[in-house]
Point group: C2
Chain length 469, copies 2
């Protein structure tokens, strides 16, 4: 059956856009996380119509379909759990005509996040979500996971930056969800599609909101004698009525790893470092900078540095954005956590997370979106060491539990995928999950579109995934 | 059957909370719009559990259910088209403990919009959506219609201000959609429930986002020699990188009506008036005020007035917020339109709308959210005059068509309800409507929850409303 599906796909797309060489299948079997899957073939369509035709073919063969962008996801969202057809969307990478007044543009899901902002630069516009993977990840993946990034504190996550999406439904129809007005009439399917991790269909085009580049920007790097004084500064800044464009925290171990790697001049004597960015008119940037500096000094900051030009600003950001690369120096593998806790509980949860890492004998560093309480503890390890991955995963589970106990959430921006699917009942009741499963079923009655993801098995009395309850 | 349903309801709630006196039924048969419906009984539950019990009873009797707040809606969303049970939620008006750090609070749907912000004042917080009806309309109605208001230009409509909602589903289960974290895992049912006009269930509690009161505010009233110079100023202000907290426009006729009514000192020699508000730190408010004044002067403003204290600011806003009251002086009835057009097409669409009103012999005034292109042409008329309502409705349809032709949308913030249901195919394809109808069906398999609203009949091959295709 697989061979005849492949033959049909080759007739549709030509053989060079249907990959099923064992090497290809091995490469496509994983995303950037730790879970591996089973790919029957990976196809690379060029157009919406080809995607729809591929979906209809897969339907005929009763074969699961899994959409994939650049594969930078960490939660296994683009990994086929049951043998499935991978629809790789990197070739749908066109950028339409820019509406400079309405500030929007239609783009393909294969456009790389940073490329989009670079191409919008001449218009003085940019796409706000800026995940750490932005040099590689695609807009389609950003839409699938409702991606965040440092600048989502003030601007909101991806869902706030997608006006409309063209979607190939699980049965192969093409529909538009959302619209180009601020408040679309009818049911807002746009928001349920964004963040659904490819379980409701394949997004083949999105109308993205572009934001104006700010007239002025300042970046502050502030060193603190303790994690607590840094966390209090975060709360005090936000309580003062100021929402900085970004407000990032790194702990001492992360600062050391980063400083060894990029030499950005991060203070090595600090227990925690805050990277804050303010944007606006020159006058407001000046006054906001002074205000944040004053609050930091009230909280015993040992070092306040304001980047004076674009080169220094980029150097400071390079430190933050290279965090994951820096860790690669310490160990061959890493596991990046993603939980959210109320800002009030930051210090307490971080202490418990350090304690968990110590108990499992793991090297952990912290870099995170402090402004919105989105923690990213990062564990460096060697997967070839027997039992290492097991310890990392057991510790991960404890860290998630600690965050949820503190009133937090399962995931800030990486998604649920396979990784956290079985933890969903920790934050949702049976009735809540049933409501979500009914939506999945309404879009995907046969359960072939990225099955076994997000919602745990048995969310619905009749399990749409076709598996046993 | 109706009598035995009423008897069961009275056993459940007591007879004083089940209204079926002919006078009650007449009052509850309409909202603030022009469409009238058929109410079997209106019930006033006190708790979520009572709402769920009412829904289950209505299910037993196969009776349509229509949720209602204060009844200030204009599109007939709370009007039962087929004989139905009205669930009036004004008694679910509790306000929970305020989370001053997370800046949120659980409130009942019956809380009046302005009351919520008043009660949050001591905390220095407020609820951002501020529809013109805010003295009377309820949070539940704001959620149902995804309400806007002058301050939604910078802050977004209601969907951006609801973190989570408790929902009684059409089958009487209680579920929570959304969560208290910035990015809730799983399918984002919160956003599909917000704006669904009570067609997916009854919202019995919402976790609202509270925003900090700005440290400083300035309000500008600017008179222009033409609608065009006012509209160009709006575009120029936004193109300059500034997003004012509000940016409202009124035409000459509306200014005259308002000025006769509240004597706010609006300039009577202007062809159009802009009301702009900027918020922030004192320094940024000062510089933003100067910037807007300069742009207005470049566009030949004839009068720029900056409110110097809170009394003057409130007087200027009183003019804007009394617009609809002012019109009541001119004629006994009014019809308030609600369409959205791209900002670039504002002047052209307004000219065509004036032309349509003239052709039908209607007195029209304009007051609208200029910043986001949300037009509110307002027609004053006397419904007792034979044929008047018919002319008003024919003109309304033409105005909507003109807006859509210009690349706009059906509705900015009032909702679709009954009023615009049949116009939905103008902006959605058959496949788009089918996708929305499938979601409706997933929530409401028996089609009893606010049926005959939003989606036109025949959106689904199998029509969930139970009516013929």
């Amino acid at each position: 059956m697989a061979m005849s599906l492949i033959a049909d796909l080759e007739r549709l797309l030509g053989s060079d856009r249907v990959r099923h060489h064992p090497l290809d299948l091995a490469v496509f079997a994983k995303d950037a996380g730790v879970v591996s899957g089973h790919v029957i073939a990976a196809v690379l369509p060029d157009t919406t119509q080809e995607v729809a035709a591929v979906v209809r073919l897969a339907n005929q063969y009763d074969t699961p379909i899994v959409p994939r962008g650049a594969g930078t996801g960490l939660a296994g969202g683009a990994v086929p759990v049951r043998p499935g057809l991978l629809v790789v969307l990197t070739r749908l990478a066109s950028i339409g005509e820019v509406d400079t007044v309405g500030r929007s543009v239609w783009v393909g899901p294969g456009v790389v996040n940073l490329d989009l902002s670079r191409k919008m630069k001449p218009y003085g516009l940019h796409f706000a979500p800026d995940p750490s993977s932005q040099q590689a990840c695609t807009i389609g993946g950003n839409v699938g996971t409702n991606a965040g990034g440092p600048h989502c504190l003030a601007d909101g996550t991806t869902v706030a930056h997608i006006y409309a999406a063209e979607l190939v439904t699980p049965t192969g129809e093409v529909v538009i969800v959302g619209g180009d007005a601020p408040d679309t009439p009818g049911l807002d399917l746009r928001a349920v599609v964004v963040g659904s991790e490819g379980t409701l269909g394949i997004v083949t085009r999105v109308l993205v909101r572009l934001m104006q580049d700010p007239p002025d920007v300042a970046t502050l790097l502030i060193g603190f004698p303790s994690v607590e004084s840094a966390a209090t500064t975060v709360s005090d800044v936000i309580a003062s009525g100021l929402i900085p464009a970004a407000l990032e925290m790194m702990d001492k171990r992360m600062v050391e790893a980063v400083e060894n790697f990029v030499h950005a001049g991060y203070p090595l004597d600090a227990e925690a470092v805050l990277l804050a960015e303010v944007t606006g008119t020159p006058a407001s940037v000046r006054s906001d900078t002074q205000r944040i500096s004053a609050i930091a000094q009230d909280n015993r900051a040992i070092d306040v540095r304001v980047a004076v030009d674009i080169d220094e600003r980029e150097l400071l950001w390079k430190g933050r954005k290279s965090a994951f690369g820096a860790v690669a120096q310490a160990a061959p593998d890493y596991y990046l956590h993603d939980t959210v806790v109320p800002r009030t509980r930051l210090v307490e949860v971080m202490e418990r997370i350090y304690e968990i890492a110590d108990r499992y004998g793991l090297t952990m560093m912290n870099v995170f979106h402090a402004g919105d309480g989105n923690l990213h503890p990062l564990v460096a390890f060697d997967a070839k060491e027997p039992g290492a991955l097991g310890r990392v995963q057991a510790a991960a589970r404890e860290m998630v539990l600690v965050s949820i106990e503190a009133g937090g959430s399962l995931s800030g921006e990486h998604g649920i995928g396979v990784e956290k699917r079985d933890l969903m009942p920790l934050v949702f009741s049976a009735a809540d999950l049933d409501a979500q499963a009914r939506i999945k079923e309404a879009f995907d009655p046969d359960g072939l579109m990225n099955p076994d993801k997000v919602l745990p098995k048995g969310s619905r009395c009749f399990d749409a995934s076709g598996g046993p309850l």
